[in-house]
Each structure stands twice: as structure tokens, then as C-alpha cells.
Symmetry: C2
């Protein structure tokens, strides 16, 4: 695969009506062919997970601010979080705000914080659902939600708003680690069957600020985060299409989740970046699915 610039990849996706520009980076629309591939990849994940007896849930793109404040997200990634504001004033303030809007002046001062924020990851609404004592085998939850990251970028794979298919496992440490290891294999196998040269790598999150570098180093050293990488724009700087986080007892303590034998539960999550997997497929096999290799088509259109 030869490298491609972010702009050229973006333009090719647009030219083939796979994505639809909307005048702001990372918030583009998706065309029907893009959606068909994305949905079919999701079906393959469902198929791979069919014997796991996961509980299925779906959450809206917004979550309770209180839950968000309780998590460490704002501590670690304040620059990525999106909070939701609204107008709570009277007629006079409304007129003032509209004058600012019409004159192209800032109008944020007329907006107040609401009780909801944008979900920063698909798993955040799940942990509060696990509060209490888990059954002997722990619990496994499977969701697909829209998430928000404030990182506007011309690179199509770096979106402000996108979908993650995410699973959360809660239980005893060995239950959680075994599940994570099993899915790392499954994820690799699934992506490779689709003709993507997927490789796992120890990873770290983009922690904010001066203290962030130490947190990231610590996360790498403890091997708490793995990513599955696929070259999309470039072979040298690959794109994470799947991410595994082992939280140890972090969410168990925060949301009071206990194992059947009364210990603080461990949790781990895995998330497939559905748009990223879809873009990787278009990049590797071409922008017209009818022309993809037969062995890939057979998997997606059985």
C-alpha cells in the first residue's frame, strides 16, 4: 500500500459519495454504500459474539453529567470532552443573543450548562448499570453508541462524532483478562479475514497536560491498553481500529461493582471504531465494493 494524504483520502471518499462534507471537520454525513459496509461489519462482530450471551443495550449520544463528573474523563482528557449548553434566559436575553448571532459575534455567554454531556466513549453509560453484586460468571454488555471527541481534523479517520461497537466485561480479574485475550484474537482474525493487515500493539491514551506523559507511560508499562492497528493513510503511522482497555478495579470502585464473592469487580472494554474499520476497507480494497476481492466480498455479503 502506498501512502495517501489526509486530503486526498478525504476527497476520494467524497468523490465516491461515501462521506458527505458538512462544512466542519469530523462531522461529515455518511452515504448509503458506506453505511451498508459499516452495518455488515457490525453483523460480523455480532456473529463472532453470538455464543457469549451478552446483554444488549443502546444509549443515546448524551449521558448524565453527574455520571461523567464521577468518572475520570475530565481529569484525563478535558480537551476532548463535549459538554452541552442551552439557553435558559428570557425574551430580552433572547433578543441580545440573536443580535450577537446575526452580527457574527460570540454568543456563548447566553448559554448555560445542562445536566447532560456528550458520551465520550460508548462504555460510559454501562458502568452505572453494573452497580451491585455480579452473578458468578460476571456480566457482559454489548452496545453500539455515538461518541464525541473534540478534535476537529482534516483526517477522515479522526472524527468529532462516530460510532463505537463496544463490549464491557465485569467479573473476577481472571474472567476479565481471559475475555480480553479471547477478543484480541477474535478481533485480529475478523479483520484479517477481511483482507486487512491488522496487528496488535501496546498503546496509551492521549492524556492531557504535563502530568499526562507519566500517566501514558504507566499505562504502557502495565499493558493496560492494546490497540489493533491497520495502515489506512500510511504504513509508518497506522490507525487504531479496535481498542482494548483493562481498567482493573477502577470502575468497580467508582460504581460499587462487586463480584459474587464480595470482591471489587474488575472491568475491561473493547471497542471497534466502526467508521475506521469501514474506511480501512475502502482504502485497502478500493472505493467500489463491487470490485473488492471475491474472498472479502464473500465474508461481508455471504
Amino acid at each position: 500500500m502506498t501512502d495517501i494524504s489526509a486530503q486526498d483520502f478525504h476527497d476520494a471518499l467524497v468523490a465516491h459519495k461515501l462521506i458527505i462534507p458538512v462544512g466542519v471537520p469530523g462531522a461529515f454525513g455518511r452515504g448509503p454504500v458506506f453505511e451498508d459496509v459499516l452495518r455488515r461489519f457490525g453483523d460480523l462482530v455480532t456473529e463472532a459474539a453470538k455464543n457469549d450471551t451478552a446483554e444488549h443495550m443502546l444509549f443515546p449520544p448524551v449521558i448524565a453529567r453527574r455520571v461523567f463528573e464521577k468518572s475520570d474523563y475530565l481529569e484525563s482528557f478535558p480537551q476532548l470532552a463535549g459538554t452541552i449548553f442551552s439557553f435558559m434566559g428570557n425574551d430580552t436575553q433572547h433578543r441580545e443573543m440573536m443580535n450577537c448571532v446575526h452580527e457574527g459575534k460570540p454568543w456563548g455567554q447566553y448559554q448555560q450548562m445542562t445536566d447532560v454531556v456528550l458520551a465520550p466513549a460508548a462504555c460510559y453509560p454501562i458502568y452505572p448499570q453494573l452497580t451491585g453484586t455480579l452473578p458468578e460468571n460476571g456480566r457482559l454488555v454489548d452496545v453500539q453508541n455515538w461518541v464525541f471527541r473534540h478534535e476537529p481534523s482534516p483526517e477522515p479517520t479522526r472524527m468529532q462524532s462516530f460510532r463505537i461497537r463496544e463490549m464491557v466485561r465485569a467479573g473476577r480479574p481472571e474472567q476479565v483478562a481471559d475475555w480480553r485475550d479471547m477478543w484480541l484474537e477474535r478481533g485480529l482474525s475478523l479483520l484479517r479475514r477481511l483482507g486487512l493487515p491488522a496487528e496488535p500493539e501496546t498503546a496509551s491514551d492521549p492524556f492531557f497536560g504535563r502530568g499526562g506523559r507519566m500517566l501514558a507511560a504507566n499505562q504502557r508499562m502495565q499493558k493496560l491498553k492494546f490497540e489493533v492497528l491497520v495502515p489506512v493513510l500510511s504504513t509508518a503511522k497506522q490507525t487504531a481500529v479496535c481498542s482494548f482497555n483493562y481498567h482493573q478495579d477502577h470502575f468497580g470502585l467508582l460504581f460499587d461493582i462487586k463480584t459474587a464473592d464480595g470482591q471489587v469487580a474488575h472491568t475491561a472494554c473493547l471497542g471497534f471504531g466502526l467508521e475506521r474499520v469501514t474506511m480501512a476497507l475502502f482504502r485497502h480494497h478500493g472505493y467500489v465494493p463491487a470490485e473488492w476481492p471475491a474472498e472479502v466480498r464473500k465474508v461481508l455479503w455471504p
Copy 2:
């Protein structure tokens, strides 16, 4: 149908794992049975529309702030709009913000407005896509997006975040009016086949402030908005499950949309509130789909 209180309806939906409380009103999760019914209703809409040759698109829950500012939404419904803020400060400001978060003090002053806002209706990202000259038959776009309304409420049918299946027709006035009239019939027939006593009604939007009452009266007088109502909580105060708006040349002028013969295009949209239709089905036929009337099951599970 006997009336039910908002709280009792909420509790019944929760007891049957159809919705999942998250600690803030109108942002609840959805269980798998709820999602199955919702998806199947969407399939019926697709089936009804299959010969219309609509263009399918999908947009994320966020849209460009510039597009939003250009529309009249903030003028008419400032109280419902959700804007997205984020942290753009340094290490010191981050520490100050986190102190406020940990002490339960307001921290909105550390957040700044971004270039994206929450989509207030599923059709907003469509209009900028129609800029230019339409083909002879106009255009028809079909989307399904998450939308946000800042109206926290204990009533399950009044959500902050929900999905609308929406279609936009652009063309000459008679093309648009004919399409709207056809779908009003189709929508009624679709809902009645599902055993819902759906009735159309001239309606108006919840315009803000002192001037709002006049705008609403005007909208009613000109019959620019229709809703399809179904009793959900109460027979006296029914719930809109489908809404038709005729915008005349409003969006044509704003987004420079022209008909093939060079006139300003007219537009209309229709939206099914997917969660509301789903809730209406549970309310009318019971909380367990296996026990629904055979003639309704036959339509949804063919």
C-alpha cells in the same frame, strides 16, 4: 384505553427492560426488545417508500454551528437547542476546573463554544446538500439521525435525545405539496395497520417568548404543520408520532435551492418519532410483543 400517568408508564417500560434509566430524564438507554420493534417499524417505512427513489444519507448527532446559525432555529426555539462546549485552556485552568468539579461547584466558565451543535431536527444537515439547481423532478432525501431537545421531562415520550426517520422533498410547490399529502395518507395507513388509532391534526411548533404565540397562530392558519396523533398517556392529550412541515420557500431562500426552471424551490419534511411510535405500540398492545394481537405481529414480524 384508560389513561396512565407519566411515572407509571415510565416504570412499566423500565420493569419490562424496554428502557434503562440513567439518572437524568429523557436520556435513558433502550433495551433489545425496544430496539427490535423500533428497527422493524423503520423497515416498514422503508418498504412503504421503496418506489420513491429517495437518496439515503446518515448524519451524526452533531452539525456545523454555522449551518445552525444560518437557520431560524435559535430565533424560534432557543430554549430547546443544545450547543457543544469544550475545554480549551492550559494546565492551570484545568486544575481550577477540576477543583470545581470535585467540590460540586459550577465549572461551565471553563468551557468554550465549539464549532458544532447538536442537531435539533434530522433534516437540518440535508438542506445545505440541496444548494444549487434541482433536477426536473426535484429531490427526495431519506435520513435517520439522532436529535437533541433540551426539555428534560419525566414523561417517557418527551426525550432529550431521540431518533427521527425523516424525509425531505424539494421541488416545485405542487411537487412538494403532493408528496406531503401522499405521505400523510401513507403514514396514517401504516400506523393504523399496526393497530394504532392514528389521526391527523393541524399543529404548531412551541415557538419561544412573547412573539411565539403569534408565530404559532400564523403557522396553524396557513396549515403549514400537520401532526399524526396517537393516544399514548392519555386520550385527551395525545402524542405526536409523526410530523409534517411545509416550509414554502424558507429553506430554498436560505440555502439557495432552485428548481429546474430557475424558481426558488419549496421544501417539506416529514419525520417519524421512532421512539414515540415504539412506545405507542407497547402502550396499546402490552409490554410483551409475543402477546401482541396476531394481525399486528404479522405486519412487524412477517
